[in-house]
Amino acid sequence: MSIVKLDRVTGGYTRRPVLHDLSFEIKEGELVGLIGLNGAGKSTTIKHIIGLMSPHSGDIQVNGVNFQEDPERYRQSFSYIPETPILYEELTLQEHLELTAMAYGLDQATFEARSEVLLKEFMMEKRLRWFPAHFSKGMRQKVMIMCAFLVNPSLYIIDEPFVGLDPIGIQSLLTQMEVRKKEGASILMSTHILSTAEKYCDRIILLHEGQVRAQGTMDELRSAFGKEKASLDDLYIAMTEDDSHE
């Protein structure tokens, strides 16, 4: 079953579109990597999926629901980790978790059980009463990650998750992603760390100039580019070279 379905989506910030006829699906329990050069349209695609931007044309469905049909049900289905951590400077770590739990309708027992596991995993138990001003960039990112995983939705949308995280933080994030995937959640992850994407993603979507240049498993991408033993780095460079030859 498709958790996310983009059908011929054209959209952008102004009348001039950034995304052109974009179509792809993410299935239940799938980890999909969204890969592309700077300005390829990765963040714009994500903004369209999370409902911060409306497509000029085409349709986006999450769990079979369109944003316009039922915004609350649409939003209930996913949590989002932005590239740059965006926290409330006036809330402590504990209050960020409590706010998220209240907004997504978690009961107290579930909140306490989930937050305990996450705080331990990301080694933040002793910083519950801290304000974001005292956090490093990596810690701020951990707060965003914990809030997203606290909700336990059917879809995670993660934009450049590894920036600023220390190696243990990256490992904890990957562990959490694996666990959630096994439980049936889908993950859309935009990243430039291609070796990690190649290792962990079930499928890759190569985005170029607002269009899907190629998509599929690593083997499918290799055949599409006619490079049998290529790594994702090789395919990425091949995609940009193709473009410069055009």
Partner: protein, 399 residues
């Protein structure tokens, strides 16, 4: 050399455009109305007070303290930017050309406040026969000269000590300025030579201190950033300022106002907005300031109509500015993705503003009872504040 001159010119042009952009929101908005009412009420009370004042009122001391206080705050406006730390380094020898223009602008931009206070003090000084017209005319020239020296001195202190001990310096200059103005207005006006000599020595000392140090780029850049941030925070009460980041404090002593989390209920926005109001320094202290002004005005102003206009205008300003501040900018916030209707945030903002405006009205009511006893006027104060706040809350449209 010419490069830094033209850099100052370009920066100044962009700075003025930036300031004008926000000023038009500030002065075409509700502040103009509040200012008209507040100045009207205070001006009326002042003129009534002058009618009753005795000639032995210590007007010279009051004028010296107030104008002296306004003169000492002479922070340099340098328009320096973080990148200057790198790009201005090779031009350091030519920096005085840039600084000269910066200090000239600092003087021009800061001189209006002491001059306005001087103009306000004139009727008081004449009514009490404190000084002759010639003496009063000379005073304005002294104010300009003192301000010019203070701008130079404060710049030297920042330069020599990276701002350390700036309050000590301001205290010293306040004593010099206040005694200078007081002596000039007193019968012993030739004694101004004493503070003048002290000021000369003091200024020369800091000038020499400055000469021994390299230009502290980081300190002046931080000073400039803080200054602009203060302006943006003020402008944010009237319009959206996108790049604004306000300071926050825990304020544990007000924790009983911050509701505990209620799981399973849709109260996340109220949980958030209460904390935003109490912990964001700008918003919280803005409300405290306006509440204290209302309370002080109620206690000291003896004309009921003037009090009603003042507290009504301040209740309007307070509720309107709180709504704007709590709505915050259109930048992305995580609660934009919460699975709850958008209207919840607006409802939570109105509830919180209504609650704090009731508290404001209650405090003014208590002060009213202390000042006038239980009278219909005091009851009317409460009614006016609550009604003005409620109408403002209901009628404030989105920016």
């Amino acid at each position: 050399m010419n490069d830094l001159k033209s850099i100052w010119g370009k920066r100044f042009y962009h700075y003025m455009r930036e300031v004008q952009k926000y000023m038009q929101y500030i002065f075409t908005g509700h502040l103009a109305i509040v200012l008209v009412f507040a100045i009207g009420a205070v001006g009326y009370a002042y003129s009534e007070w002058l009618k009753e004042i005795s000639t032995d009122f210590p007007a010279a001391i009051l004028a010296a303290v107030v104008i002296g206080g306004a003169l000492v705050f002479s922070a340099p406006v340098t328009l320096l930017k973080p990148a200057d730390l790198v790009f201005f380094l090779p031009l350091e020898k030519h920096l005085p050309h840039y600084v000269k223009r910066a200090l000239r602008w600092s003087l021009f931009s800061q001189i209006p406040l002491p001059i306005i206070l001087y103009i306000v003090a004139l009727p008081l000084l004449s009514t009490t026969n404190t000084a002759s017209t010639t003496v009063l005319l000379w005073l304005v020239a002294f104010i300009v000269v003192l301000k010019w020296i203070f701008v130079e001195t404060e710049f030297s202190v920042h330069f020599a000590r990276s701002g350390q001990g700036i309050w000590r310096d301001r205290c010293v200059r306040f004593i010099i300025a206040a005694s200078f103005i007081y002596l000039w207005l007193s019968p012993y006006l030739y004694f101004i030579v004493i503070p003048a000599i002290v000021l000369g020595v003091y200024t020369a000392y800091w000038y020499k201190q400055k000469e021994q140090k390299p230009f502290p780029y980081e300190h002046f850049i931080a000073l400039e950033q803080n200054r602009m941030m203060r302006f943006y925070r003020f402008a944010n009460y009237f319009t959206d300022v996108p790049h604004l980041k306000g300071a926050v404090s825990r304020r544990r002593w007000l924790s009983f106002f911050m509701q505990r989390p209620k799981f399973g209920e849709t109260v996340s926005q109220s949980f958030l907005i209460k904390r935003t109001f109490i912990r964001t320094d700008d918003t919280f202290w803005l409300w405290v300031r306006l509440t204290v002004i209302s309370m002080v005005g109620t206690y000291f102003i003896s004309i009921p109509v003037a009090i009603l206009i003042l507290v009504g205008a301040l209740a309007f300003a307070s509720s309107l500015q709180l709504i704007y501040a709590l709505r915050s900018s259109d930048e992305f916030r995580m609660d934009m993705l919460f699975p709850e209707p958008q209207v919840f945030r607006e409802q939570a903002i109105r509830q919180v503003v209504r609650a704090v405006q009731w508290i404001q009205a209650g405090l003014v009511f208590i002060v009213g009872i202390i000042a006038f006893g239980l009278s219909p006027t005091v009851g009317l104060l409460l009614v006016v504040m609550v009604i003005v706040s409620e109408i403002t809350i209901r009628s404030t449209k989105k920016k």
